[in-house]
């Protein structure tokens, strides 16, 4: 690997998350380094998505500390993640169904737009200028993801694979420093998966974006990620480079079951 992995930018220490009596995450610690592709894997219900929701502030863990670029994060709301340059995609596509591809991706840049609603209503000054500037940036994302032909299509009309791609576009439009991907390849055919892998690697490579990824396709995970965390029943059972994790006893047990 030629790329340069940097310092730790996200450090999670002893995270525990409960919903009433249900323990979703128990005492989990791991870190994410700049510019790496970090995978989170585990069987269904292991707490992977909860982990992502903790990272971008949708859930608030009862215990544990989160350090972002060395500073401890105290109160966290979802919109603050966007301000800290963390973008994400969702497991079940969370696009804005009533809007076109272009509008969806434009929405990804909303934190960078400064005009207020009165300027928007009058289509005056900053409103007009920003709309054109950001359109330029959005078109770059559209080119990158090769979705020029559908830019005016309402996303509800698109096939699943393209919707996933548009959702990645919406996250990329924010020019994030860290990108959280929740099963970006679920339900895709081989060709679509290859495309998606290519986009993820290109994003990582060209833009230097750090990527945290949840994925069930082990082939993909072992191929593209630098380090892997394995969760099972809300506990961390493995952490390390793909080869290490592949040969970890606990991991094999979790995936194949004990007593064979």
């Amino acid at each position: 690997m030629s790329k340069k992995i940097g310092d730790v930018i996200l450090d999670l220490q002893n995270i525990s998350l409960r919903f009433g009596g249900v323990k979703a995450l128990t005492d989990i610690s791991f870190d994410v380094r700049q510019h790496e592709i970090r995978a989170i894997i585990g069987p269904n219900g292991a707490g992977k998505s909860s982990m992502l929701n903790v990272i971008n502030g949708v859930y608030h863990p009862q215990e544990g500390k989160i350090f972002w670029h060395g500073n401890e994060r105290k109160r966290m709301e979802p919109h603050m993640a966007a301000q800290q340059n963390i973008a994400r995609t969702f497991q079940n596509i969370a696009l804005f169904k009533g809007m076109s591809v272009l509008d969806n991706i434009m929405t990804g840049r909303i934190t960078k737009m400064k005009a207020n609603f009165i300027e928007h209503a009058l289509w005056f000054g900053r409103a007009r200028k920003e709309e054109l500037e950001h359109r330029q940036k959005v078109e770059e994302v559209i080119d990158f993801l090769e979705i020029q032909h559908i830019r005016k299509t309402p996303v509800g009309r698109l096939p699943y694979g393209l919707q996933k791609r548009v959702e990645l576009g919406r996250a990329l439009a924010a020019e994030p420093s860290m990108l959280l991907l929740d099963e970006p390849m679920a339900g895709m055919n081989v060709e679509e998966k290859q495309d998606m892998c290519r986009f993820i690697l290109d994003v990582n490579d060209q833009f230097g974006t750090t990527i945290v990824l949840i994925e069930h396709d082990m082939g993909v995970v072992m191929d593209i990620s630098d380090r892997v965390v394995v969760l099972d029943y809300g506990k961390k059972i493995g952490d390390g480079v793909p080869d290490e994790v592949k040969n970890n006893e606990d991991v094999i047990k979790a995936y194949l079951g004990a007593g064979h």
Binding site: H79, F117, A127, E131
Partner: protein, 358 residues
């Protein structure tokens, strides 16, 4: 055949992002405006102005307000008529109590007052959604009408809260005839409709639609839910408030609190359901449909009854009207939830390709 965009190439993003990217649409809209501002005043009769065109424009404005809130921001509201009442009474009180305030300024202040009240009743939307929010806005409907009846100060101590509006004087010129009032209403509606169109195609509108379609994703992207929803309530109520002020000053001339009933709120809601939820043009189509249908039935039903030799009374006409409305709303909810505006859009898409299938 004429509706083709072939040969109209966009070379800049500005050209691609204009309100009407297709030339035929631009020509059509300009023609429509010319007809509305010049043609109609030349030919329409007084009855048309005071009984059809003015109420149509006013209700279209109120429907536009509700459409911003319900269609774009996804917050269901049953309080539109109440916000209109706030606008009507606020405009009256500004005229009454502020020395020498121009009428247009008091209309704007009326809108702002309604916006303030709208924000207040929009606060529950931060915690509740859908039907429960509708019930919360229902509270606005009853509370505001009750307030206007209960506190005589608001109607300058008139009996049962009836107000008679002041004279309409703009730049020293008094508007008295229906034509003049029509032109005033039309100008205000055109300006506000353009502002609404600009809002919904900008970042503000995208934030509203994002909250409507998927609020968790919207907040993760960095949209703050509270200001976004409250802004929708404010803008929506502003439009309803201005519509209410126009309703009192340019249409009826004298209004009472009970006139702004729940029935009227529902009527406005039906306008956007039939016209098109989440469409500026739909608000106008819906208002036209809901206001013209009763007139059409009034004329058509006796004729039909006579044809079949059926006994007929005016009560029957109103019963049939209600039945037809109910049936139409069910029809639109099931068959075309996006209303007349979507039908129009589909027709345009077909027309662009006609006579070819693809």
């Amino acid at each position: 055949m004429l509706y083709r965009e072939a040969g109209q190439f966009k070379t800049t993003y500005a050209a691609d992002q204009q309100v009407f990217p297709i030339r035929q649409d631009r020509i059509g809209v300009i023609a429509l405006l010319v007809v509305a501002f010049v043609g109609v005043p030349l030919f329409a009769s007084e009855y048309w102005f005071s009984a059809i065109l003015i109420p149509f424009l006013i209700f279209a404005l109120a429907a536009l307000g509700l459409n911003v809130l319900t269609g774009y921001a996804g917050q269901l509201s049953l309080g539109s008529a109440a916000f209109m009442a706030v606008g009507a009474y606020a405009a009256y009180n500004f005229q009454l109590r502020v020395e020498g305030i121009p009428i247009l300024v008091s209309f704007i202040c009326a809108g702002l007052t309604a916006a303030g009240v709208g924000i207040l009743f929009g606060l529950p939307s931060l915690r509740i959604k859908g039907f429960y929010l509708a019930v919360a806005t229902l509270a606005a409907q009853f509370f505001i009408v009750w307030c206007l009846t209960k506190f005589p100060w608001l109607s300058n101590n008139s009996s049962s809260g009836v107000i008679s509006t002041q004279r309409l004087i703009i730049f020293g010129y008094e508007l008295t005839t229906p034509v003049e009032k029509y032109l005033l209403v039309l100008s205000i509606v055109v300006v506000l409709a353009m502002a609404a169109k600009n809002l919904v195609r900008s970042a503000t509108g995208r934030a509203w639609m994002a909250v409507r379609d998927m609020d968790v994703a919207a907040s993760v992207i960095g949209i703050k839910l509270m200001p976004t929803k409250l802004l929708a309530f404010a803008v929506s109520s502003f439009y309803c408030g201005v519509a209410g002020a126009l309703y009192a000053f340019c249409y009826l001339g004298s209004v009472e609190p009970d006139g702004f009933s729940l029935d009227m709120s529902f009527k406005i809601l039906f306008m956007i359901i039939i016209g098109g939820v989440g469409s500026i043009m739909g608000s106008f189509l819906g208002a036209a449909f809901i206001l013209l249908l009763p007139i059409f039935l009034d004329v058509a039903l006796p004729f039909v009854a006579e044809l079949f030799g059926l006994p007929f009374s005016s009560a029957t006409v109103s019963h049939i009207q209600i039945t037809v409305f109910g049936a139409l709303i069910m029809f639109f909810l099931i068959v075309e939830p996006h209303g007349l505006a979507r039908l129009w859009q589909i027709a345009k898409e077909k027309l662009r390709l006609w006579p070819f299938p693809h």
